[in-house]
């Protein structure tokens, strides 16, 4: 196994990019830390180092899903929240990713993995745990929906 630092040097920007697409800029940092901690914990027991990037992106994807689940539970409102307009200056250049975040989970992940980190269909399929055909379909559906949203 190469020293773990080389994984950070080579893939940290990709992982952060995917996570920004999947959970937004603000929460991407937390998911990034969780992703690499999980990877570091498992690293000595990893069988082979052939596709470390795909391995990391798979973990990142799982952490993003965990994040959405946790947030889904926490977001149960007890009363109607006050209506305050929210403007996050960090997100204003992020229009398309805001739309990506609104996609259903599989489509969102497929789009983020394809365009956020430039992953080929086979690796997206591996990360999502589905067939390449299903990955292609999710990606296709996601893009179709984005086109409609952003038109």
């Amino acid at each position: 196994m190469p020293p773990f630092q080389t994984l950070l040097d080579e893939y940290a920007p990709d992982v952060l990019g995917v996570l920004r697409g999947a959970v937004g800029r603000t929460d991407a940092e937390d998911c990034f830390q969780e992703t690499f901690l999980a990877a570091l914990r498992a690293y000595p027991r990893l069988d082979n180092d052939e596709n470390l990037r795909g391995w990391l992106l798979t973990i990142a994807h799982r952490k993003a899903i965990d994040h959405h689940r946790t947030n889904g539970r926490e977001a149960m409102p007890m009363a109607d929240p006050p209506e305050i307009p929210v403007e996050d200056p960090e997100l204003t250049d992020d229009g398309i990713w805001t739309a990506v975040r609104a996609l259903p989970p599989k489509q969102r992940a497929a789009v983020a993995l394809r365009y956020g980190s430039d992953l080929p269909h086979a690796e997206i399929a591996a990360a999502l745990g589905c067939s390449p055909e299903a990955a292609r379909r999710s990606l296709h559906e996601g893009i179709k929906r984005l086109r409609k949203e952003l038109a």
Binding site: P3, L16, F32, Q33, L40, R41
Partner: protein, 183 residues
């Protein structure tokens, strides 16, 4: 990204996952790579040896959980700076001896005890390690010292007064001995 990575190294350490921390440190001879386990300094890589190779060896021999963590080496950096300025004669850094075993390990521990500005011969080192006749093995032990400078193998010379060898190259050995006032 830099702050993110630093935070990651801190969290890794807090969770007991930082098996080997490393940092690059400047020296008058070029960049040194320092590596430490939670127990102490485990490796000092001299400028003439590829630092990436040194890290790969550590990953293979100790643990692949290797992270750059410069903040962990402030004291080592300070002591080395002072040493190279001639203002420090004894390193006070914890050492992890796990890369040395058996007779070599004994020789290297004996080297650590040679005082600043003094020299020993390979024969004397063989004797300190408990086998006076193993002079050649004592030489090998000096040559395979994983923590040079801090474990001062540059203070070991040939019996006839010749300099012997040095992993960092003979000119570096000579400079270190001049710094300590031996030459």
């Amino acid at each position: 990204m830099k702050a993110t990575l630093q935070r990651f190294a801190e969290r890794a350490e807090a969770e007991g996952l930082l098996d080997i921390a490393y940092a690059n440190v400047d020296s008058p001879f070029g960049p040194l790579l320092l590596a430490a386990t939670p127990r102490g300094l485990v490796r000092v890589n001299l400028p003439n040896y590829d630092p990436e190779e040194a890290l790969e060896e550590l990953a293979a021999k100790v643990s692949p959980r290797v992270l750059e963590a410069p903040a962990k080496f402030e004291r080592a950096r300070r002591e080395l700076d002072l040493y190279f300025e001639g203002k420090l004669t004894e390193f006070d850094l914890p050492i992890d001896w796990q890369l040395t075993h058996g007779f070599r390990g004994k020789v290297q521990r004996a080297i650590k005890r040679i005082p600043y500005g003094q020299t020993r011969t390979y024969t004397e080192m063989a004797r300190s390690a408990g086998n006076e006749r193993a002079v050649r093995a004592a030489g090998t032990a000096c040559g395979s010292n994983p923590i040079p400078i801090v474990v001062p193998c540059h203070r070991v010379l040939r019996s006839g007064g010749g300099l012997g060898g040095y992993g960092g190259g003979l000119p570096m050995k000579e400079e270190l001995l001049k710094l300590e006032g031996v030459l």
